[in-house]
Amino acid sequence: MPIEFDPPKPIVQTQFVLKTVAEEMMRSKSRYYDEHEHEIPWDYIEFMHTAMKAMGAGSLAPKEKGNGHEGEEQKEKRPPIAYQSLAAQIEALAWGDVGFYLCTPGGGLGAAAVQAAGTPEQRAKFLARFAGEKPTFAAMCMTEAGAGSDTASIRARAVLDEKTNEWVLNGEKIFVTAGDKSLTPYEKLGKGFIVVWASIDPSAGRAGMRAFVVEAGTPGVRVTKLEHKLGIRVSDTAAISLVDVRVPFDHILGSPTVEKTTTGFKGAMATFDATRPLVAASGLGVARAALEFLKEKLAENGIQIRYGLPRQKLTAIERDVIDMDIMLKSAWLMVIKAVWMADNKHPNALESSMSKVKAGDVGTKITQKVVEILGPLGYSREFLAEKWFRDAKITDIYEGTGQINRLVVARQILGYSGAELR
């Protein structure tokens, strides 16, 4: 198909619906939950669960064969748009409130890992729950106190107990998004799980790294702390301790044997090629919220942006707004290109990381600038601009910091391995 920029109809329809959801269910509660950290937004969670069930979507994660618009038969051969739809949905929800978006039931990154690295049996076993009666969460546990982007330094261990054919996990994980909702047995929630990254062979470095599904309620796993954060406060960020946690043999995602290559690890990293543009999309939703709010306030004050004038004739505010328009639009196109590549099975490691680099920059720059231009209105907690400024910063940090993504981009364009460019 030739170059084209018409958003697919199902995406436009979903965006329209989600705008109402964002306004009704998120914006009106944004401030409350920002100021009541660790309270759980049950209304939103239950609403989203019901809505997603009605749509036939058990999870936000793309389906194997769907064309992106769940519940609709694929009558003719149409280009796949599952990741494109997902990016658009996430952007629209994050426009409402990115913290709330992170509280959307359906498995998040935990389910994405199972989806990407699991066998068909594992997918059936672990993912069915998200279409159940109660909203259900899953989470990804990778980061440790001493290992963030440097995942090869992960210290959590998994040892096979050959007598019982069980994996025994030990370790301390931090910064687990939705870890609390995935593990703690809240009455209103279904039974969730966490995906824990641990080494099955410490001498093998990255090659020994594997992911394990740990069900909520498994003895030995517990939430030890909920973090107090700069932003996205409505989303719980948990520290999780694993002490002699036993899981069945088939809870390992990927091969249980260690070859002295990093193929297994690279497979895991491939998950990030799919998820980075989605995280980028969430950051751009926040940036769009901030930029639109600024434009509203400027319009209320009789300030029009005179698009079309040369720079020399623009006011400082016009220049800033135009620069922000350019940043936001181009960053969104980079996200769309990366997910379009994912949908069409083109390798997208470069585009995926570039979209994340760009969105991290754009999300922080736009929200910072909006607060600056709005002056006291921007800094006041009576409006949400200051909150978006705090929320947006996470985009440049989680799912690989801006710096790690620059490293990934640089290795791609230079053709360097990790050893050649450290």
Binding site: F5, P8, G308, P310, Q312, D323, L333, V409, L421
Partner: protein
């Protein structure tokens, strides 16, 4: 639907343009810039690629249909070779494309076949004016209707090939609106400057000041006839040409500095292995991609006749001008002292790079 795939025809065209840009334009660029001379043969060879001819329908002597998307793809690819050469090859478009977009049937019949038949011929256009706050939508050059003639007064700058031009479109303000007027060679009151413009770059491209002192043209020479023209799509097409050329030049600088960084050693490693350099390159590549996609989208919107195409083209242009400055500056920085020496092309690209903020009207897609 979203799609980022070139059609087969586009791929073939881009491949041909790429060969010309890489083998011919790039090879000639240094000497052309130093000697203020672009060989006619080189221009003719670029003309034979048929970019303009393919954008004009058969009825007017061409063999295709105009596509802004194909235009931005081709300009980026050609400007990767050399900017001055690209602008020279495309100069006749400055005259033909606005006529195609906004001319009357008579104007199309009268001029389009003439421009595109045979070899490259000097037809041009005059938009830029010598003022710091030059604004294509608020020109100082004026047009007034007197009987069945328009009278043009003012001064134009940076007019490519004005000296030899068979005819040019002069843009002037008519009752506050920018309109185009076809001015033939040797019109009374039309003075072409004796000397070429002296600019920071584009030395290879002959450009001139043009004075209009009560130049009278028949009313039928107004683009679009009595009701005139909508200048916005023309301006959008000029801005997209500048934007895609900026992407091409930036990409040239990026590739060159990337290859240099992979060769040059310092402290026992290639400098590309240092994060300070590698991160610069990563950001250059990212920003080039951002500008490229914005340019594609705006071009697609222009082709699809979307309402906001004019604003999108403006944003693409503004973004690309900034991006090209950033990327070309960094390319020079990565080469260090060598970047400052004219034996390497990056300093020329940096001089090009600063120009895109000013270059509206030197090319059109």
């Amino acid at each position: 639907m979203y799609s980022f795939e070139l059609t087969e025809e586009q791929q073939m065209l881009i491949e041909a343009v790429g060969k010309y840009a890489g083998n011919d334009l790039r090879a000639a660029a240094h000497d052309a810039e130093e000697n203020h001379d672009l060989p006619k043969k080189l221009i003719s060879k670029g003309w034979e690629l048929g970019l303009l001819q393919a954008s004009i329908p058969e009825a007017y002597g061409g063999f295709g249909e105009r596509s802004a998307v194909t235009g931005v793809l081709a300009v980026e690819e050609m400007a990767f070779g050399d900017l001055a050469g690209t602008l020279a090859v495309m100069t006749p478009s400055l005259f033909a494309t606005p006529i195609l977009l906004a001319g009357t049937e008579e104007q199309k019949q009268a001029y389009l076949p003439k421009v595109i038949e045979g070899d490259w011929a000097p037809y041009t256009a005059a938009l830029i004016e010598y003022a710091f706050d030059f604004d294509p939508l608020a020109l100082r050059t004026t047009a007034t209707l007197a009987g069945d003639e328009y009278v043009l007064n003012g001064e134009k700058a940076f007019v490519p090939f004005a000296k030899e031009a068979e005819a040019m479109i002069v843009y002037a303000s008519l009752e506050g609106k920018t309109q185009g007027f076809i001015v033939p060679k040797g019109a009374a009151g039309l003075t072409i400057g004796d000397e070429r413009e002296k600019l920071m770059s584009l030395n290879a491209l002959p450009m001139y000041r043009v004075k209009l002192d009560n130049v009278k043209v028949p009313a039928s020479n107004r683009l679009g006839g009595a009701s005139g023209m909508d200048f916005e799509p023309v301006l959008a097409s000029m801005r997209l040409a500048a934007a895609s050329a900026a992407v091409g030049v930036a990409n040239a600088a990026f590739e060159y500095s990337k290859n240099y960084a992979k060769e040059r050693e310092a402290f026992g490693v290639k400098i590309a292995q240092k994060q300070a350099i590698a991160f610069m390159l990563a950001e250059m590549r990212t920003e080039i991609e951002a500008s490229r996609l914005l340019t594609w989208e705006a071009a697609w919107k222009l082709d699809a006749g979307k309402d906001n195409a004019f604003t999108e083209a403006y944003l693409a242009y503004m973004g690309a001008a900034d991006m090209a400055m950033m990327v070309t500056d960094r390319a020079v920085q990565i080469l260090g002292g060598h970047g400052y020496i004219r034996e390497h092309p990056v300093e020329m690209w940096m001089r090009n790079g600063r120009g895109f903020a000013t270059f509206t009207g030197l090319a059109i897609i």
